[in-house]
Symmetry: C2
Subunit: 486 residues, 2 copies
């Protein structure tokens, strides 16, 4: 473990030298995948059968043995070891069984956080400010100096929605100091306006923001995510559908983005339930890895300002280094930062950042719940941030991503039927392409030692961890070609 760290520190120290990231971060990592049985193998099959008696397994992809998993490699009960570029749906940041995280997880501080979980709104622990300042807030997006912590991406988004609604209604009432009317108090208890206001959150077609009742009302990824669940009549704006390669379709794509911006503003002005906020992902992830240009997002920022609507950037999947910047919206060069930025997944905790005091609750118990996050997970995120800095992982992701993208471009030229609309150039390892035989590809990939995921209707998405290096990219590229040849 110590050896790992020395090695890695040396790598980080020389990161400005080309090819510094060629040195392995974790020399004890497996040298490559090892496929011993069909997946699931006999032991996994038996274990899945046992689990199915008590827990839903209909979405099960592969059963993991995480004590045996290390770095970029996921192990199972049958001795199979796969290069994992799906990483628990993009949520493992710095590798399985990461030694630095293990130190944090076995600290006295962590033990107390696990067994003495406070109700953070009422009885925060004395070192909560310190944990936030040395962790979550050290990587706060530009313009954000406060945080409201939560427990999942859905939770983070719904908390941000609530902050937006309170802000909007506060404005309509004439400011945070104007008290609620008797009518508001009474009607709120009956779920009626004006207490329960006729307002909305606007999201974008193909967007994904979670699965609770508010967040699901903004999710527009697939029917299977939404069917049979009641929803609010909230508006969806069009998200640009860009054509690839981008260089070839520059003008057409610019027109498409202009059309979407125009329609977004029209909807904001006319929807029967006016939006308090818009929510958008920097790259639509579950919806199929749909990208838009920085100019599009800058245009949205202008539209929201002009129309007095908040802009919530959902960085649940894009955040924490995967795109070659710590936050994906750092790619946009916004002059005026987003009003709220939500996070979860690779942060291993959740919440929203904000910078404007007007988004603070103006009275006790408005934005509140029992736990309001989890100090244990905040301590872990701090350790993740330290590991990212120690190994210079955001730069690693940017450089490895460029290398991987170039390799995929070559493959796309060789196999144009297999790799279509390759996208994510300059976005770290946040790369995807369309595959006409996607399900077949994903299933066969396990046979060549690769665990890989899809998104949207026909995309294959890469979501490796931040410790994914060029040598892993080579194994991945080779594996992909093997599947194409099979």
């Amino acid at each position: 473990m110590l050896q790992d760290r020395k090695q890695a520190t040396a790598a980080a120290a020389t990161a400005s030298v080309p090819d510094a990231f060629d040195q392995p971060f974790f020399p004890d990592e497996p040298q490559g995948p090892m496929v011993r049985t069909a997946i699931p193998g006999p032991k996994s099959k038996a274990a899945i059968k046992q689990l199915d008696k008590v827990f839903d397994t209909c979405s099960l992809n592969m059963m993991g043995n995480y004590q045996d998993s290390f770095g970029n490699y996921i192990a199972d009960l049958d001795g199979n070891v796969l290069l994992d570029v799906y990483a628990q749906i993009a949520s493992i940041p710095v590798g399985y069984s990461n030694p630095s995280l293990l130190l944090a997880a076995t600290s006295k501080e962590m033990a107390s956080a696990i067994i003495n979980r406070p109700a953070l709104g009422n009885f925060p622990q004395h070192d909560w400010a310190d944990i936030l300042e040395t962790g979550i807030l050290r990587v706060a997006p530009k313009g954000c100096n406060q945080v409201f912590t939560g427990q999942s991406g859905s939770d983070a988004n719904e908390l941000a929605f609530k902050a937006a609604f309170m802000w909007k209604r506060g404005q309509e009432r004439g400011g945070p100091d104007v008290d609620f009317t008797e009518e508001e108090m009474t009607s709120s208890m009956n779920n009626q306006a004006p207490g329960a206001p006729q307002l909305s959150i606007m999201s974008f077609k193909s967007g994904f923001h979670g699965r609770m009742f508010g967040s699901l009302s903004t999710t527009r990824s697939k029917p299977i995510h939404k069917l049979d669940i009641p929803a609010f009549d909230w508006p969806q704006a069009p998200f640009p559908m860009l054509k690839y390669p981008l260089e070839q379709y520059a003008e057409e794509n610019a027109q498409e983005e202009a059309r979407c911006l125009e329609e977004t503003e029209r909807l904001i002005k006319t929807w029967h339930l006016p939006p308090a906020a818009i929510i958008i992902e920097p790259v639509q992830s579950e919806g199929g890895d749909n990208h838009a240009s920085p100019a599009f997002f800058r245009g949205l920022r202008e539209i929201t300002r002009r129309n007095n609507v908040l802009m919530i950037v959902d960085e649940v999947q894009t955040g924490v280094g995967a795109t070659g910047k710590f936050w994906a919206h750092d790619h946009w060069n916004l002059e005026d930062p987003p009003d709220m930025v939500t996070f979860s997944k690779k942060a291993q905790t959740a919440g929203y950042y904000f910078g404007n005091d007007a988004l603070r609750p103006n009275k006790p118990y408005r934005q509140f719940n029992t736990w309001m996050g989890d100090p244990a997970r905040a301590i872990l995120f701090r350790a993740i941030i330290n590991e990212i800095e120690r190994l210079n992982l955001v730069q690693n992701t940017a450089e490895t991503g460029d290398y991987l993208y170039a390799g995929l471009e070559s493959l796309a030229q060789k196999y144009p039927e297999e790799i279509q609309n390759l996208r994510g150039k300059g976005q770290g390892t946040f790369i995807a392409w369309d595959s006409p035989r996607r399900e077949d590809f994903l299933a066969k990939a396990k046979g060549v030692g690769i665990n890989i995921g899809g998104s949207g209707a026909q995309a294959i998405r890469l979501r490796p961890m931040l410790i994914f290096q060029k040598k892993h990219a080579d194994i991945l590229l080779e594996g992909i070609e093997k599947v194409f040849q099979s």
Copy 2:
């Protein structure tokens, strides 16, 4: 630590002998409260000021120092040590810094669970069935043999709502094997019926079920919980408002319950968005500690069966031993168990239990999210269950609760202005009363070394941990009387 355990094991072993619970579970616990400064004292004030810069503190009650807290006692930075009968809003089960939980929190298994958090629906860990079977499911309510795990009480309830809506629409479609229509698929993406159905969840006046958009639509506790947040137009049935003492108002209370049952059935039959389920707490907690009789709940079970509506029992606050039964609905002697039972708080994890396979998702990715719970928290709940069994804590809570209730009855006779509508007899330590000067009482209680909470408009609620013993009850009763005399 070992000494604690030996002592406690001895206590548990003789639990059938009267007064077995007089022996201390944790001899190292403080002998009583210690108040050194006003609360907050100078050090706490400085720390709160620092925290307020980055995190909302407007609902802050007291800043804790949990490394220094032990058993029933919460410590702060200024050296104050209070007997804690609020317990992080009823969520600390077996005491601060519990030695048995510390062992679980520092185990190799826990460390892996913290740093290798899986996406449980896609990539469950190989021992997930074992963790569930030896933990969460070992205490499953009668009639429930499966669990869907989540992360908070709100989350648990919304997951249960989603299961109910899918079940109801499945029935309407003619069974789980009948496929969605094209119209359902299309309309769901636009948040419109029939894909997003015109159905509801019915809750009860003064009930509390969480603060996300679906759960908040069923919450009817106070305007401050609901104001400015859009809500679904879902129905609320009346919850019986019983008069105390119960013996004196038996007939009147029975009439009140009959009236509520009748109105509930009428609403189920007539509400414009038919309910797929009702959700109810065994004791309405945030809403003011409102009780109803077992007969009322048996009546509800009959009404829901008769009308083909599911019954969700929300045990987020009442569950895990506090009422002198492991689950509060064990007091009802239902012949036909609830369809779903939600849990969180003292379980330190969350989710819903169920027994009917028809409540399982019929297709992948319908009931799903990235983490679907947290193995680290499930491992902790298992340790909590073991500790409850080791120390026989459910029986302790029943016996100590009776002792405490008798003491409060005496106080109520002596101070009839201060303690009104004392309630929770035979419900373990889940006891409350109405106080005409509640805020004043709660503030002064800290001065005599007691941390205690309120609920509803004027109730004072007791939510001690399961390790609260007669000696703690004596300290509490004495402290309460001191406040009355001040």
